[in-house]
Symmetry: C2
Subunit: 400 residues, 2 copies
């Protein structure tokens, strides 16, 4: 496996094009068309929020019927909380793209992100299609990653190549997301493409496994979006991946690596964030328990504000572990580490604890909180960020 999060490998069978459609504000690139070669396969996961945006409902219907030929993505307006009109608007955009490309409207999958509750400006989306289609190219991943951003401050792209028995296979993905981030099946929005030839059922399993260990372990603010979606598409022009065997294992690992890179990038670029935080829980009875503890710590405003200050306030971490719902937790068996340093064991701070060293670790751009529950073999890592006054400013002023 080779490749890095920066430097996206083009994926044979995929082309991308963007446009500045003025959807909510003028002067920013806010429209993306991603074209998939005919004969590919796709799998997707969507938000479990009960308020699902119109494009999510349409996307699920369209993907159920056939493999997609085009993804149509807009930012600015989420087309959520828009009732029946929202579905009609999303469908109108799909039809317009289908007419211009000669595919069926059901082969177009819509995605939207932005403000909830405002109607989608269909005319502006449609007016932007020509530019997006005119600029389609295989090497436009970075431009595409920029086009799907809202409050993001940087591109989130990850790309790996992996040697399968039939040849080299490429997997490139991009994501957006900085706020309303606590994905529950997927994050708003991630697109992962591969040239491998993968049966749809296999692709679906690969995506669900990767997603569980990547996007579903990110939280910025605990708020699950109405528009979350993650799509994994395979053009099939590259090597084959069978339903079992070493190729599948390598392919699964590479997809997971792309998704984890993107998930960490989302946490690092959380709204107002100054540092990426790994909350690594081990010694749990089962994975669900490890995840519960990790999410409780990762979503604690008190832990996150202490992290913003670079303050090794381990008491707040203990308090979060203690309220995480592990009913029979033996608190004397819990070990807490900041970076590489053990801070707490046997219910209190360890002798010789070096607070200055802990503060130095917390001053960095990547921080690791290790929590060993001391009661089992299961582990889970959740990625989050610190909570700063800038987060409040961004979200207080979002609609203005």
């Amino acid at each position: 496996m080779a490749g890095e999060a920066s430097g996206a490998h083009p994926v044979p069978g995929f082309r991308l094009g963007t446009a500045c459609a003025g959807i909510r504000k003028p002067g920013r690139t806010d429209l993306l068309v991603m074209e998939l070669a005919a004969g590919g396969t796709a799998a997707a996961v969507f938000t479990r929020n009960r308020f699902r945006a119109a494009p999510v409902r349409i996307a699920e219907r369209h993907l159920a019927g056939q493999a997609p030929r085009y993804c149509l993505v807009n930012t600015g307006v989420a087309n959520a909380g828009t009732g029946e009109r929202g579905e009609a608007d999303a469908l109108a955009c799909c039809r317009a793209l289908a007419e211009r490309t000669g595919c069926a409207p059901e082969a177009v999958v819509p995605f939207s992100t932005g403000v909830i509750g405002e109607p989608l400006p269909v005319e502006r989306v449609v007016a932007g299609l020509e530019t997006a289609l005119g600029g389609l190219g295989e090497d436009r991943w970075e431009a595409a990653a920029a086009a799907i951003q809202t409050t993001d401050t940087r591109n989130k792209v990850a790309s790996y190549q992996v040697a399968l028995s039939g040849g080299i296979c490429t997997i490139t993905g991009m994501a957006k997301g900085a706020g309303m981030i606590r994905p529950d099946m997927a994050t708003m929005l991630a697109f992962v493409a591969t040239d491998a030839a993968v049966p749809e059922a296999v692709l679906d399993t690969v995506l669900r496994r990767a997603n569980e260990r990547s996007f579903n372990r990110v939280t910025v603010d605990g708020d699950t979006s109405t528009n979350d979606a993650c799509l994994l598409a395979a053009s099939g022009v590259g090597p084959e991946v069978a339903a079992a065997g070493a190729d599948l294992e390598r392919f699964q690992a590479a997809v997971e690596a792309v998704c984890i890179d993107l998930a960490r990038a989302i946490a690092a670029d959380g709204e107002g964030a100054t540092r990426l935080v790994d909350v690594a829980v081990e010694g749990a009875r089962d994975t669900a328990e490890a995840e519960r503890v990790a999410f409780t710590v990762a979503e604690s405003p008190l832990v996150k504000t202490a992290l913003a200050a670079g303050d090794p306030n381990w008491g707040r971490i203990l308090a979060a572990v203690g309220r995480s719902g592990v009913a029979d937790l033996d608190v004397d068996g819990v070990r807490l580490t900041l970076g590489e340093q053990v801070v707490v064991a046997h219910g209190g701070v360890v002798p010789g604890y070096d607070e200055a060293a802990a503060a130095e670790h917390l001053a960095g751009s990547e921080v690791r909180l290790g929590i060993d529950l001391g009661r089992g073999e299961a582990a889970a890592t959740v990625w989050t960020c610190d909570l700063t006054a800038e987060y409040v400013r961004i979200n207080a002023e979002y609609r203005t």
Copy 2:
């Protein structure tokens, strides 16, 4: 039932005294002694956080054996995460107070609030006892409420009088709390006193019921403290309350009124808060469902930052309702009101929605978010506050 949150009625059988003991910082009143007349009864609820502070563990043991004669409360240091030494320190303080008053050490109940992980300065606590005992008085509730504060900005006192068949009974309570507030059985700290004569078992039932509907429905930041405690004590010098009947109902209602006043005061004084927010959920299948939805909305950082800006961003409220875990929620049946105005029904904004009027409501110091799930008869109200940059500042700088 008469009385107000301001203007505390003295409670026959209770005396309070404070001292400036310099526990963590010099120059602030940080020690409280509350004396209960002999022959009284008491009930208490404590935090369910698995990391329970040393004073919580001692308090529970002491209350199990006998009715208390003294509560000893300090701020500055929580005496939590302090291992075995923490219990020894708390016991040493209890013994010192017992020696000076001639009661058994087990008749002293300790409470601490403040920074987690620092040892309790026993000598300073003991040195402050003389001043506190020398100043004991029945009319010192406001001074006592001031003495137990940490990041609180104002006193939280509530007082009611209620006519029972045996005469007028007084119920006065005080609380502290502004951060690490998501009580799970009680809040750090509340003391409610009455002169009624109430059997211990009855008092326990009254407290648990009142607590479920008051302190357990407050959240500032979702973080449950390691030191939460709520004590209801009855001196028994006033009218009797039997185990059933109209007197018990009146007494229960008055205790609940005191607790709700204090709970709302805690939310209104949440760290950095500019407004008190009632999240009132109705139309739920059962109370647990109503509480779950109300807490999800009340703890959503995106809802709370919008409230800080006075922005009627109802999309964020819908998104929080949608992720609250009501699996089969029919989103078209949900009605959302801001103040008195219906904003959302049938999955979208209602025709004629007046955003300016909604913004005007949200600009006030008391805000009401009404959520009707449209699927049952159960209801629950949770109290919270907005999330401001000042909250981040307070908690980033707390230990410095």
